[in-house]
Symmetry: C2
């Protein structure tokens, strides 16, 4: 059986919005390192979709390997365990989240407006079909030791929101008496909770949900 790992698969526009993979396609003569890294990311991308839509414990390494046209053992060249593979998926997901929030917050409005934009982007990104189960259903599997980079990203997000809260106090668009630490806790809590209860079919689109929850979560903090 010929390995398909060397093939650059077409990117599904629905699930791959803002995916960075497409931007790093091979140019001319790929080095061994480049090829290896591309394959690794292809594995992670495949695993992310499967974990995200089917749930971690319902996906076998065999299934991932088959889908990629290789054997299970081959995967172990790119990850040290199934949990490690999940970790790499988390990193990918975290990067997406950070990117989305960063972009949304880069606007020019008041801090309150940019905070709202960032929060909405956070929620919408989290509700992407292939992020769904990844966040709400398998965060658990992140075992100690491995999870450093994930926690780093989480902290990074937390800091981004806290900074924006502080900026809001400074520019007067948010109440001066709010505690950024506690407020970011409540805000992110509300946002993350959406990922738990939201299921397609509730009638509302992720974008609508994002806007509604954002409005509600920030209501008490506006100046």
């Amino acid at each position: 059986m010929e390995s398909q790992l060397t093939t650059i698969r077409s990117i599904d526009p629905e699930t791959a919005v803002n995916d960075t993979l497409a931007m790093t396609e091979l140019s001319g003569f790929p080095t061994r390192k480049q090829l290896r890294d591309l394959k690794r990311r292809e594995i992670v991308r495949c695993a992310t979709v499967k974990f995200g839509t089917e749930g971690y414990e319902n996906v076998t390494l065999e299934a991932i390997a088959t889908e990629l046209g290789v054997t299970k053992a081959a995967l172990y060249n790119y990850c040290s365990s199934k949990n490690d593979l999940l970790m790499q998926c988390y990193e990918l997901g975290m990067d997406r989240l950070v990117d989305a929030v960063e972009t949304a917050m880069a606007g020019t409005g008041s801090a309150a407006e940019r905070l709202a934009a960032g929060l909405k982007a956070y929620i919408v990104t989290m509700l992407r079909p292939d992020m769904q189960y990844l966040w709400s259903y398998t965060r658990p599997m992140v075992t100690s030791g491995d999870k450093r980079s994930v926690l780093d990203s989480r902290d990074k997000l937390d800091v981004m929101f806290r900074n924006m809260l502080n900026a809001g106090i400074s520019d007067g668009s948010l109440r001066a008496d709010l505690d950024p630490k506690l407020a970011s806790l409540v805000i992110l809590g509300a946002a993350n909770w959406v990922g738990i209860w939201y299921r397609k079919g509730g009638g509302k689109s992720p974008s609508e949900i994002g806007a509604e929850v954002t409005g509600e979560a920030l209501r008490g903090y506006l100046a």
Copy 2:
């Protein structure tokens, strides 16, 4: 090996606060049904502690069985699968939560005060060591089909909070313009989020955390 399932184990006061098991000890000549039910609950109690403190996927049925002094196969007289056992643990946990919140909300103050008491009780209960992983780490494993009763309890809690929010609008202790549905979402989101990031050693006790988060989550809703 003699079965220890017939022994009523002493209740650890730390983890068994409000546990209903102690109230149903056998009286005189236990019937077969009573004995069976007692054993079932003893299994669930043991599993709850282990799942809660070690994490679902790190606990083998073998380990639970050994701790109870029986074989793994014996457990299958009381549950149909490992996941079903987890479900029963969730029910136990949910009952604890509902009890705690109900009791806390039964006071005589304003609706806002009772809401705060209920929310704090919710958080504190959730932070019990043996509830920790159960909530934040294994909610995922609840697979469709089985999970009806758990969702019922969750709905029940949601309704309790929504009712109290409505009561607060009526008695004027909460802002008249709040949307109970969205508000309960944000409030419970913030509360549940605590279970994710809280780890012993942060210096603050569950009670302090509960009070702080409660204050913050309700701040925007007070009249």
